[in-house]
Amino acid sequence: MTATTPAAPPAAATAGAFRTTRRRRATRSVVVTCSLAVAVTALFVLTMMVGSFQLSAGEVIASVLQLRDDPSVDFVVRGLRLPTAASALAVGLALGAAGTIFQQLLRNPLASPDFVGINAGAGFAAITGIVLLQVGGLAVSALALAGAVVAALLMYVLAWRDGVAGYRFILIGIGATLFFDGLIGYMLTRAQLSDARQAMHWLTGSVGQAEPGELRLLLGAVLLLLPTAVLLQRQLRALELGDDTARALGIRTELSRAGLLATAVVLTALAVAVAGPIVFVALVAGPIANRLLGPATGGIIPAALVGAALLLTADLIAVHLLPTALPTGVVTGAVGAPYLLWLLATTNRQGAGG
């Protein structure tokens, strides 16, 4: 006991410094998350203000919260603009969260759903529906949902060998993506030109095509799964240290990994079913959030909020700032790409993108 006393002061100092750093990180994390939430709310309201019929923020908020009764405003806000805005919000939250879970779990910045075959599986199923079965609307979304889930299951089964390790999963995902892309290309050549056009529109992804039923499902899933993901985040933290360390800490690695993957897959699948395979949001939301968070990286909620902010902004641009209204996915790619490039150009660390 006496032997430990001389070492105590420096140890206490280290612990103090450690605590200060930790507190600073926690503060920054809270501040960033709150600012993002405010920004997303502002964008959400702004989306419903602009258009051929201009509204004030007060009118929009009053109408959404049903505080006042003004039939014409209510029609524009609740009838026309709220579904699209809510869809952008929910899809953005889902994609942002799912992307960052994939990236952290597989420890690879390329491991977003755009790359591991899930989007491509959903796209192929939907295109088959449009071209071969001549269906539209809800049926396309249902097919996309089924395609995404089947692709994800396929991926998991194929990548499973004594656990799902990072690189193998991504390689197999890329293989599956190429497989589905080949079939999508073939479907497009077989289609009537008008069907091909509809298929391309769907493949680009747009938040303006949500059916109310699916939207409710997605919103429910986001409300349920985001907290689940956050609860599982402690497991995620341990996994980041490596499988052996995680096992030593008493984490059942495969179970928690499967749980997190399942959460991310369901979020992605529902988002794709509602809005089509919108690119880039899942890929960049995590890295952007990490940059804002600084040393306290890896928050799922901040990443989800970044995703929502990105998608709301993209939809504003796609619908209101371009000469012709285009699918949202056109803008997420065109806007997301320069951002990622800037991130690459300014970051000095290896393993860039975060």
């Binding site: 690189y167 050549t189 680009t204």
Partner: protein
């Protein structure tokens, strides 16, 4: 001592292996000339090939003016894609590097769409040149962006900038295509990747580039072996790492650019074949490069023949066949094969 005998044994086994692949390629090429949606008897094929001149009959015209150029194009494009993939994977030390990931397809597609919508160009024979320019522009852009910053073009930065440029260009392309029905109609046929309908003029157009670049590419073996040890190690061994990279990218830009221009984006060959070659040859790029160069056209021609035979009288584009057959093969390699480090 033991390692040098190991190398020697590898060399004695791999040399004949190359010869065997040459024979196999010749057989597959012959198959590609013989088989097709129009059945032409073997004697007629041989007679046409022997005289090297059409006697006016449909069969000899099909053989000499359609199937022979198509087969030659398949050989050249396949070899180009295989070697380009191997060099890219070696230079970036990234097992996922491939012409598609590095932005080549999207650059080519963007320029094709530009040619169609803005310049009113029609027909594959003309927009080959736009695709070529677009492929090279995209690759240069990707590499330039990845090179920004202190430590230069690291594998991860390269892959990410490839992804970013691809997504950006793809968005612009889709944006234009959505508002221009003509462009959509032309693009959807170009972007599946096919050897069909791209005959003699395209072959003579891209062949000189491809042949020169193919010969040049074989000289990179030693440099890639050095890079495989890591950048610092390669520098320590006296290599000019930056110069090697730049030269390698120039060659890849020509190979993959010309191939994509001629046939559209053909997937899988550039990604998978180098892995197969590495599986056979081990880590030595002096063997991997020639093996990739011979394996890739064999795969490509087989896929093309298969696409012509399975849905007669229609045909499946080679890009589709490769996507469908290549994926299980690729996944098999990843799952069960010894996924060699790059």
């Amino acid at each position: 001592m033991s390692s040098s005998t190991h190398v020697a044994r590898r060399a004695t086994a791999l040399g004949p292996g190359l010869a065997l692949l040459c024979v196999l390629l010749a057989l597959v090429a012959f198959l590609s000339i013989t088989l097709g949606s129009r059945s032409i008897g073997l004697p007629e094929v041989l007679r046409a090939l022997g005289s090297l001149d059409t006697d006016g009959s449909i069969n000899s015209t099909v053989t000499l003016e359609l199937r022979v150029p198509r087969t030659l194009l398949g050989v050249l494009v396949g070899a180009a894609l295989g070697v380009a993939g191997a060099i890219l994977q070696g230079v970036t030390r990234n097992p996922l590097a491939d012409a598609g990931v590095m932005g080549i397809n999207s650059g080519a597609a963007a320029f094709v769409v530009f040619a169609i919508t803005v310049l009113g160009v029609r027909g594959a024979g003309v927009y080959v040149w736009f695709a070529f320019a677009g492929a090279i522009a995209a690759l240069v852009l990707v590499y330039a962006i990845a090179s920004l910053g202190r430590e230069g073009a690291t594998p991860v930065k390269l892959a990410l900038s490839g992804v970013a440029v691809t997504a950006g260009l793809a968005s612009v392309t889709t944006g234009i295509v959505m508002t221009n029905v003509d462009a959509l109609n032309e693009l959807r046929f170009w972007q599946v990747g096919s050897l069909a309908g791209r005959y003699a003029p395209i072959l003579t157009g891209v062949a000189p580039f491809l042949i020169i670049a193919l010969i040049a590419s074989l000289g990179f073996g030693r440099a890639l072996n050095g890079l495989a040890l890591g950048e610092d190690m390669a520098r320590g061994l006296g290599q000019q790492v930056t110069r090697t990279r730049t030269a390698a990218f120039a060659v890849v830009a020509v190979l993959a650019g010309a191939a994509t221009a001629a046939c559209g984006p053909i997937v899988f060959v550039g990604l998978v074949v180098p892995h197969v070659a590495r599986f056979i040859c081990g880590p030595d790029y002096r063997w991997i490069l020639p093996y990739s160069m011979l394996l890739a056209p064999i795969v490509l021609l087989l896929a093309d023949v298969l696409g012509r035979v399975v849905v007669t009288p229609d045909e499946l584009q080679v890009g589709v066949v490769l996507g469908v057959l290549g994926a299980p093969a690729f996944i098999g390699i990843v799952r069960y094969g010894r996924m060699s480090e790059v």
